[in-house]
Subunit: 487 residues, 2 copies
Amino acid sequence: MSKIVNIDWKPNKKSNEPVYKQIVNYMNKKVASGDWAIGNKLPAQRELAKAFNVNRSTVVMAIEELKSYGILEGLAGSGTVVAENTWSILMSSNETNWGSHLESGYFMESLPTIQTINEYEFVDKIRRLGTGEMSPKLFPKEYFNNALRKLSGEISSLNYLEPLGLESLRETIAKRMRSIGINANPKNVLITAGSLQALQLISICMLKKESTVYCEVPSYINSLRVFQSAGMRMKGINMDGEGIQYWNMKEENTNYDSVLYTIPTNHNPTGTTMSLNRRKELYSYCKANRIPIIEDDAYGELTFDKASPNTIKSIDESGMILYLGTVSKSFAPGLRIGWVVGPESVIERLGDVKMNVDYGASSISQLIINELFVNGDYDKFIVENKSRLRRRRDIMLNAMDKYFTEIGRWNIPEGGYYVWTELKDKISMEALFKNALSKKILLNPGYIYDIRNKNKFIRMSYIYLDEDEIEVAVKDLSIIIKEMKKS
Amino acid sequence: MSKIVNIDWKPNKKSNEPVYKQIVNYMNKKVASGDWAIGNKLPAQRELAKAFNVNRSTVVMAIEELKSYGILEGLAGSGTVVAENTWSILMSSNETNWGSHLESGYFMESLPTIQTINEYEFVDKIRRLGTGEMSPKLFPKEYFNNALRKLSGEISSLNYLEPLGLESLRETIAKRMRSIGINANPKNVLITAGSLQALQLISICMLKKESTVYCEVPSYINSLRVFQSAGMRMKGINMDGEGIQYWNMKEENTNYDSVLYTIPTNHNPTGTTMSLNRRKELYSYCKANRIPIIEDDAYGELTFDKASPNTIKSIDESGMILYLGTVSKSFAPGLRIGWVVGPESVIERLGDVKMNVDYGASSISQLIINELFVNGDYDKFIVENKSRLRRRRDIMLNAMDKYFTEIGRWNIPEGGYYVWTELKDKISMEALFKNALSKKILLNPGYIYDIRNKNKFIRMSYIYLDEDEIEVAVKDLSIIIKEMKKS
């Protein structure tokens, strides 16, 4: 028989801290101090409720939280026992970086949704209607495997690389940058493990705590915690058809206490491409107001209708723009290769931090993408793939016309992956997410990109489902929404 | 003619802040505010010294610092001009995370050395006598390229992976872990971009700010900034021939405010392997005192004399140890693949943070290493390579006997990469580093692993130089040291 622990304390109901949380902290402390040892049993829930003088549901909530940290464990037939200490305790009592954001209001809603999405993406036969990655069927198998085969005759070692990344790749990228009007040499280029890592490096070594990061709203960046985790505040600026309404960044910025994060081309999630005019005005405004810019060009090569305007970076002479490129959206996310282009001194600093974070991106990934850039297959694929993207876009827009005209509005993307859909009537997005899941449809609810509009938007993407599945999925989703509106 | 800026201020010589630093801040503010625009010229150094009422050398120091940030630029024939603002200003005025550590005393010494090492490693014909990576000549070309060739017929897509990493790889690793006595299933395994990233993830989401990280002293971990950057304090504990003297971790640890980082097998840089007895005692002590352990087993497979004791993790039943594995030292660092083994709830949390940091390690790297594990070539290489490592170790020890007996003492490593050499007499390590460089020898001075012993130790490694180069390099180094002692 394992020992049953003794409850010698009651929560303070007058405290500002929720009662269940007080119970969590109490139990936590008991395990941390060693008073409650691994294997010790808790009294039955009924008795706990009595001992704490609270409702049973409050006890259940506290126990569930401690179970999620692995501190308690429910054993069938023998109640709840103390399962672990040390690392679990550290995790549950953590007050730094990520911990505090897990507890902040901002992420309480989006985090579970994103975790659920991350999980369900690997469930068999799930229909990923909102996802941000290409169908495996679009993957350029032949080009990729040719590159592998070629390299398999050539690789004679695979050691750590230069702090900024493989030199030949940086030369290739600098050349590609110059071909789109961006003035760059290899020392202006840092290779990262995707653009997300570039953002992380920038946040931990370039930005001040409590500074403001402006972004479009909605924005992909709101689904992440990279800036908030480093102590920055996000501030959303509305968009119109030409892009971000920069004039609403009203603060005084004499101390470089704010930066702008923008996705000017084929914006995620709205699909908007910023007009050339807006780009120029935005640049002038930011220059005059000393707001450095992070330009995320992840979807820049994915324009399939008319050509997009030049990057903002191409009009930058002052070094105030850090440009982010990646092959994750255009070619293959699994390579985990992106790059930052900026002033030498800044790139050098970011590279030094990268060496302290993970010693550089995978060398084999860097060799592969360099081979694909140099032998021309990457660019061939980009061109070939455009017609496929356009056709998929058209299939989705046709289906939208057919099934969504009554219930929503949406943009007409000229590139990228997404149809940003606004529902005419509010609907519980959480319920929709669950109902869709029951029909094996995995959605990206709009609120993960814009918390202010909880029940209005859905990011739909035409990039993952097979062409013949797109219409069926759009139809099935419209039926679910119409059913929900009836009831 | 570009405008010459006007100096309207003088430093306060009574301030605690160094005068040169005051000048840096003044110029910084002038550029940040826009008063000094890009392209504006600074007065000549002589005039600046007069205007500030300081020595010319003070002016030079301030200008050099601002040049290093890219804010000022020296143009041949036309003096110093304002080169950049925005990002450079952000960088120079940054007070968060990395910034504050760059300015803390702890890193002021080691950082430039490590940056220099990182750079010089790529200089042609440099002799890397202290490096932590294998010679390209030891790289298992055939095994690696066979794996590439095999995969080049198989890869049909390369998308994002599960939050914890490629499932088949996690299964393979869990099996390998069980074969060395560690109880693990795939849910206990998180794939990381090398062990360094594992440490970073642990530091940002598991540890409390201002908590203590104990480590051996000297320790490889002191050459990094991963824990300090997340706000932890490092505390070195002396070692003896059996390993860390754990009983010196004297603090009261009732609040889980400290953890231990240890490399028990073929320790970096001392080469010490902790005895089985010490492992058991250490574990009991940490358990009793609630000090969670991070066990870094990077060199665990590199024992070439008698077998090493089992991992500490293999005696852990409470989940208090996070175990770090990697192929960087045993096979190829360029894959950037490591793993953490720990309780499910902890691994899940670390995996969620990893998704927020870089969306996972390179998929192709994960596929390659899984192939090499499964087809047996990885293990074949490990066995074959042992005799090569042993031979190299013997060559270096013979050379040490021949040339270093008068001037130093060293350990006899039974595995790993390093001969940790203590000089009998103190010598300026900075001067030695420079003198060695002039003979094309790149050293790892001991102070980057132990700041307390600045001028006594050198980490030498037998892993990079060719067998016939080792003796010559050891000899050349001994001559340099003997020369320095004479003068």
